[in-house]
């Protein structure tokens, strides 16, 4: 059971990561790129949290009833990573709004055309 679950976890992580990255690299729409970027980042959370899970353990909040806890360290790291991620996305969206205002489009290809003209 545990090996299947373990593999499943990593396989899902890898798939999400590749899918997210694919959206970022292949798609031209700037909003969609940002959604892809956040999926790409989110998949990394699983990569960190999964190894920290201990089967039979519980959330790392001390209580007399439990003795086995999952590893708190990755949780801390990922909390930070989530915040950094959303900060990046917010900034990216602000840029998208500005780009839309000054160019009238948010498609990467159109922008490349517009810039090569000037």
């Amino acid at each position: 059971m545990s090996t299947i679950l373990a593999d499943l976890n990593y396989w899902v992580t890898v798939f999400l990561l590749v899918g997210g990255l694919y959206i970022v690299v292949a798609h031209g729409n700037m909003i969609k790129k940002l959604v892809g970027l956040s999926i790409f980042q989110t998949s990394v959370y699983l990569l960190f949290i999964s190894p920290g899970k201990i089967l039979g353990g519980t959330a790392p909040i001390l209580d007399d009833k439990y003795t086995l806890y999952s590893n708190p360290l990755p949780h801390v790291l990922i909390l930070t990573a989530i915040v950094v991620g959303v900060a990046t996305i917010a900034l990216g969206l602000a840029l998208v709004v500005r780009i839309h205002e000054s160019y009238g489009t948010i498609e990467d290809d159109d922008l490349t055309d517009l810039e090569s003209d000037t």
């Binding site: 959330a59 909040i61 915040v83 969206l93 602000a94 709004v97 205002e101 000054s102």
Partner: protein, 154 residues
């Protein structure tokens, strides 16, 4: 949407509940899940909800942008200032132990202050971002027709 009475009443009822929840998450963070960041998001969500229903100008009256602009850096200053306090009291930067009579109390107090700094910055940043984007949206709505006429001019 802004004229629906039900929404207005519900929001008015919900608002204090959300704010209390935010405070709970803030100060209970060391016993249960949660902390400054989550509390900040919740508190900001309350104001944002208010702004979405009653309009951004109304929200800006409750929490003026000038206050928000000061709060964002203030949170960082609170956090870093706590660190410097430890430094001035003779220990390393960000060592909270000298803040209390016993190191453990110092640590506990330090965590609370620091989490409060996080709350201040997070909630005000969320609000600032909401004002910025929301303000843009209102502006865009107003300028929609004008822009359609003058397309291609930019």
């Amino acid at each position: 949407m802004r004229d629906t009475i039900i929404l207005r009443v519900v929001v008015k009822l919900l608002l204090p509940a959300i704010l209390i929840f935010a405070l709970y998450v803030q100060f209970h963070g060391d016993y249960g899940p949660g902390g400054g960041f989550q509390a900040g998001v919740a508190a900001a969500a309350a104001i944002i909800l208010y702004g979405m229903i009653f309009g951004i100008p109304a929200a800006k009256q409750v929490v003026p942008p000038s206050v928000v602009f000061v709060m964002i850096p203030l949170g960082v200053l609170i956090y870093a200032g706590t660190g410097v306090a430890g430094l001035l009291l003779g220990d390393n930067f960000l060592d909270y132990s000298p803040l209390g009579s016993k190191p453990v109390y110092g640590q506990h107090l330090g965590i609370l202050i620091v989490e409060f700094g996080v709350l201040v910055t997070v909630s005000s940043t969320m609000l600032a971002i909401f004002y910025a984007f929301g303000g843009r949206a209102d502006e865009a709505d107003a300028a929609e027709e004008a822009r359609k006429d003058g397309e291609g001019g930019s």
